[in-house]
Each structure stands twice: as structure tokens, then as C-alpha cells.
Amino acid sequence: MTRPVTHADLVARATGALADDERDRVDRALAGDPALRDQFEAIAAHMLLYDAFPDAPEPPPFEQVAQALHGAPQQSVSRRDLPRAAPRRRRAPLAWTAAAAAILLAAILVWRSERDAEPVRVEATAGAGIEVLHEGAPFARVAAGETMGLRLPSGALLRSRKPAEVILEGRVVVVLDGDSPLRVEAPGHVRLTAGRAHFQVGPGPFRVDTPYGPVEVLGTRFEVDLRYGALSVHVEEGVVMAQAQRLETGARLLADGSLEQAAGPAGTWFQEPLIELTRVQGGAVAPGQVLELQVDVVNPNHLRLSAPGPASDRTGLYAVIQRLGPDGRWQGLEQPLALTEANILSGESVVRPGQPVILGGGERRSVTLQLLSPFADPGTYRVRVGYHPEGRSPIVSAALEIEVAR
């Protein structure tokens, strides 16, 4: 039996990392599945941009900027420097700054080498606000929905009151459950002291220390759960070592020490998000009238519902509008309608490319949609709202029939 194509397979295909026979298997699946092909193209485009625009170099040290401030008293600006104003034509004292920077170079290098001892780069793409503490004191804070690059010293502690996501070293995606502090020990090495966290680990060694022993990673996607007074590990993909046991895809090491093997495709325990669809205002709809719908999304687990980045418009919530044809069959009215800022009337955006939204277990998110003039002619229409999870096929979860009167 042919193994189903996973998200990891598509990523590997896009990066050219598959052996010939594996590549043939993926190509055959792509040829026969337009939705999978769309997904693959989105991944490939994302990877292309990722390759083409590597991380930028570090900005100048703050001391260099601070030195330049000597000749920059405040209040000496025109209105044009204020928000929404046109820029003021002026040269900053760069020559002076360059001289100062040269004088201070040695001191800055020493300062930076001390500051950057064992740095760990973190991109915190927060579903909720994330606090970063170092030696018990606040070090940084990332507000909900903002992305921030940080260079963390060894021992920095990440914590969030609600589920949130951070990316360590550009290769480890961590979804931290609420009240699950994660301590960054060193590159490739973290410590989870309580709660629960989900890890998706790119190539390279990675280790999660817990009070109940370490979990060593061999390149995988897995969850570590400490909520029940013991270590529980669920391996979604790959292989990890925990409690002296080798856990492979689909394995779940339970808190009582027993081992289960998951059923289902690719050994995943993923539970689909639940979607409810209701009309904001009842009654008949006239042709051309704008229809308002409320979509409620409930995430039964804490896996992320997200658009992973640029060119990912095909991930997330979407709506399909169909019309009942004369032959009694539903006909597609248009391409799936991405539910984005353009047609969300109120409530938070569920999906914003590059800014994942994290919903906690059982957490609910409501969005009111304004479907712009999809009902130009009288007839019976059906609006179907679905969710396109990252790396999986679209799920249609809710549908609503609407009569448009003449």
C-alpha cells in the first residue's frame, strides 16, 4: 500500500531532498490531486522566498546610535518627522558617528562577545503575549500578533499565559501551552519545567529536559506533556528517545509509562477544528445584498491554526459558495474565498499570513464575515466554510443554505 504524502514529504520534494523513488511517489500523488498540488506550489513559493532572502545582518550596536545622539537634541524636528508626515530632508551625523564607532570598536566587540555568549536566536510569533525573563528580571515582551527577533542569553525563560508560538534558531517551532515555562539552556537544548509544549524540529540535534528525564530528538514533530505529574510524549512524526524507549511516528508514551500506537493516517492524533456557521440576520436575501455570517472556530487541541508565512493564502479558513443548478446539483460559483481582512467585518482575523493564530484547547474564536455581492441572481445558494490546515487536505465543516428571492 502506498504511504500517503505528508507535509514533510512536500517540503522535502520542494527542497530536492528526496531520493528518486520517493520523489516519484510524491510526483504521482501531485499529478492526481489538484489540492495537493496547490499545497505544494504554496510551499515551493514560500521556500523560494525563504532561500532568496536570508536573515538580515544585525543592526548597529546601540552604543553607536547612542553616541550619535550627543548632537541630536529632542524637540528640534518639524512636523514632517511625525507619524503620517512626509520625511524631512536632513542628513544625520553619520561621519561623526563613523568616527565614534571606530574609536569604540574594541569596546563594542568586547561588550558584544560577552553579551552574545551562547546566543539563541528566537522569532516569537505570538498567539498570545510572550514574556522573556532572564535571571528573574524582564528581558523582553512580544505582544500578541507581533513578530520579533531576539538573541537570548543562556538561561532565558519564555512564558505565556495563553498558547503561543516561538521559533528557536530558525528550525524549531514550539507551540507553548499556557503557563508552560520553557527555559533556553543552549543552542539545541531547552528545559520544560511544567505544562505542555508541541515541538516541530528541523534538521540537527535537539533536546528537551524535563523534571522526569530528557527527551532527545532525532528530527521530528512531537508533544511533551507534563500536566499529569509525569512525562507524556506523543510523536506525530519522526523518532524520539524518552525514558530509555525509542518512540516512532504515532507512538504515545502515556503518563503511567504505557505505550500506545495511534491509529489514523500518518499516525497523527490531530483533531480537526470545529466550525459553526450562523446567519447574523435572518430572513430572505435580495439579489446583490451583502450577507453577514458568523463563523465560530473551536480548536479541540492546541495545535496551531495558522498561515505559516508568505504565499500561504491557501491555508486557513475559507468559504466556498455554490448555487443549485437546474439539474438539482450544486455548482461552484467561484474559487474558494479566502477569509481575510478584505471580507471580515468584525472580530479578529483567524488567518493572517506570517502571523499564526494559536487557539488553545477548547478555545473559541469568532469572526463575522461580510460576503461581498456573491448573490447577484435569484436562486438557492449554499455557503460552505472550511478550514485548510497546514500540511493537510481542506476540511469542510459547516454549510448554510440561503434563498435569494427575486
Binding site: 527542497t15 511625525l82 508568505p310
Partner: protein
Amino acid sequence: MTPIDEQEGRQPAPEGDDRRGLSDEALMAGVRRGERLAFEALYSRYGSPVMRFLYRLSGDRVLAEDLTQDTFLKVWRAAPRWRPIGRVSTWLFQIAKRHWWNEGAKRRRRRGISLPDDDQSARTPTKDVGPEAHAARADLARAVREAVAALPRRLRLVFVLVRLEGLALAEAAQVAGIPVGTVKSRLAAAEKQLARRLGPRLG
């Protein structure tokens, strides 16, 4: 007192004060009062994003560093008259964009268009990728950078804001100072040009 505080005759922040946990607005309020620690915390928070934005726009590391510094100097000067009427990050990107627009163009005319360094290109994690495949991907990455660098500035700005920085359309419109509809049309135009230029490479 810090040199800035001495020069401006202001009181320094209390010893051991750490403002990095404050909100953007609270930090800006501190910067407005002339507090160096607040300004340092703001720089710590936004120095890298502003640098990355300017680097992606200009493709020139030195220019991006200069413009980042100029941006924060401007923030320091403008702070006393800053009012919390929008997101601080949007304001910073607006200032950065204006610097790039005004001075980046001038420098680029002098130096010609440059591209981001190649040292980290084709960095997508792979396993067992042979040197030929890696070289091909590096070539493709360079072609993409060249195609983006060749976009007209108004299109490149929108493409960088939305596709590379991941800003929402409304926020990109604020930074660019144009309506959301114009952002959409410029984004479409940018992607059309990129597709035309890269089409033969992508097969």
C-alpha cells in the same frame, strides 16, 4: 547620568531599571521624556526588524545600517511630539521607509543596485542535497533577489512589506502611505512582473 541625560539636563532612570517588559506605548512615553533606557529598550525591540526591512528593500548591508541608525535618530528627535495615535511599529516602519525612499534612491544611483549577500542563500534545511542541486537552488535564489531588486521601487516596497515582512494589507498601506486598494494592485503588478521574469527559470 548618561551622556544624553547630562546634555539634556534630564533625570536618569532609576538604577537597575529594566524597561524591556513594557509595552511599545509605555516605552515611547519614556523616550518622549528623554529616558535613555527606554530608548535602548525600544532599539533592542525594533532594531533588528527595522534593519531587516531596510536590508530587504535596499539589498545593501552598509546602507541598511546607516538608514537604521538614521531612523532611530529621527525617532529620538521626534519623540517629544509623538502621540499614541497608531502602532509604534507602524510609525517606525514609516520613518524607515521614508529614509530608504529619499536617501536609498540617491545612493543606489551612485552605486548601482546591489543585492543581499550570498553567504546565507539557499539556506532551507535539506538532507543529502548534492552540490549540484545546492548550486542550482543558490542560482535560483539569486535570480529571485535580482528579480525583486529590479522591481520599480513602489512595487518593491509593497512586495517587501506584504510578502517578506508579512504585514497585513491595511498596515502595509499605512506604512507605504497609500490606500489598501493601491497596495493590492501594486502587489499584483509586482507578482506579475516577478512571474514574467522568473517564469523561464521556474519552468
